[in-house]
């Protein structure tokens, strides 16, 4: 804990779990889409999110995150108008997602280049989140630390190539947590690396150049 856990975060109200956390879940979707423009989202809201999302502005917050805004961006309030202007169609569906945290959202998205995906995450209090599933692959990261997500093909040598790069070129970066998920043998897979430090921009480019890596993204701590 440090002083900014008590004095902070700076955020758009009214509730750190219902707005700030919700926005951060949306931002993961934005990051995963990368340069592609998201044209359609279906947002399932479970538990307390489902019951109070309109009064708390959870809908606006998630949408703002999907549009790339931060939990402290004033645009969060007007995200529905901004979504309409940018040609992003959205729907909110209250849905009981069994066995999940009371503030869970599942976002299905579709981009202009045809890419589709899904992110499931929970807002666990104080603006903190826990992402539990990406594209059907189980993950578990909170966004407390700078987190690298590397979508890749399940082939021998990919993990070694990634860790080799991290050690040889970015030796100052310490990996605090590592997790691998995959849909099936030889299919799509996802590596998650939580870092103790903030990596430079070049790490993404270098990771993207590794054979069988489809795409690497960085989720900044408290971003």
């Amino acid at each position: 804990m440090n002083i900014f856990n008590i004095i902070g975060p700076v955020m758009i109200g009214p509730s750190s779990s219902h707005t700030a956390g919700a926005c951060r879940i949306g931002r993961v979707v934005n990051k995963l889409a990368g340069d592609a423009r998201i044209v359609r989202v279906c947002i399932q809201l479970s538990g307390s999110f489902a019951r109070t999302y309109q009064g708390h502005g959870t809908d606006r917050a998630i949408l703002a995150g999907i549009l790339g805004y931060y939990s402290w961006s004033e645009e969060l309030r007007d995200s529905m108008r901004i979504a309409a202007e940018r040609g992003l169609s959205y729907e909110f569906v209250p849905e009981d997602i069994p066995g999940t945290h009371p503030n869970t959202a599942r976002v299905y998205y579709e981009c202009d280049n045809g890419k589709q995906g899904m992110v499931e995450g929970a807002s666990i209090g104080g603006g903190n989140i826990q992402i539990t599933n990406i594209d059907g692959m189980e993950v578990n990261f909170t966004g407390d630390n700078n987190t690298l997500l590397i979508l890749h093909l399940d082939r021998p040598g990919v993990i070694a190539a990634v860790t080799h790069l991290m050690y040889e070129k970015y030796g100052d970066l310490n990996i605090g947590n590592f997790r691998l998920s995959r849909k099936e043998k030889g299919g799509e897979a996802l590596m998650m690396l939580e870092l103790d430090q903030m990596p430079p921009e070049s790490v993404i480019e270098d990771l993207n150049n590794i054979k069988n890596v489809e795409r690497a993204i960085l989720i900044r701590a408290l971003g």
Binding site: I3, M11, I12, G13, S15
Partner: protein
Amino acid sequence: MIQYNSIREIVEVAEKAGLKISELCLKDQAQQLGITEEELYREMEKDFDVMIEAADWGQQPGRISRSGLTGEEGYRMKQYAEHKGGLTGSLMTKAMARALAVSNCNAAMGRIVATPTAGSCGILPGCLVPMYEDRNFSKRDVVMSIFTAGAFGMVIATNACIAGAQGGCQAECGSAAGMAAAALVELMGGTPAQCADALGMVIVNELGLVCDPVAGLVEIPCIKRNAAGVILAYACADMALADIGLKIPADECITAMKEVGDRMSSDLKETAGGGLATTPTGKRLREQVFGKE
């Protein structure tokens, strides 16, 4: 390195070193975060600027919450303060206006600093913005006093909790008001021990306060409890500065708060299952916003 698990220890270390609690905390946190003291100060100054903006924003007319249940509290209090002065004097009514304004800003999806939470975000600005804008304390001193508030807040978070869902409103508005009281004491030239006394006195007075938001929204009664928290913070800061003394040490008050919070029914901890939330009017307002169950 300070562990932030004892108010008494922080007071002793500060007094021994001849430092204000804020100065001690700034040194320690700069070291822990790996940045310079000046960089850390600047970060905190940015947070204070957000507090000032939120207070200004919420004192404008037409600021209504998303649900429509609340609005214009800060604006009305500001008008009243300026035109009537108020029973408690204009400093207090202006302080309440800021607290209501920031809380209203939060409910209306404006930008705030959670201090320590969004539900209690009006109390620290309600106490400190008037010291800067109306009482002409230097910005540096006011921003520094936030480090004292934060240092004590970290102890509460470590030894008890700061979330209504975990410990009731005593843990949210109680912690915020206690932190603010300590900041006020330091600003007024009080000793570290007096800062601790002010914190403890607030906790003594907020003990047992439940978290019972109507419709589960951070509006009723949260917004008004922020104004009340400001009054309590000023009152306890004055009592501490008058050297009335705290009979139960602040650390023990925090432990008592935790015990009370643990024994509080979950219906009374942010779930809208009791208290004001389940009054006939509370239920009706819920239906008004979210429709029938």
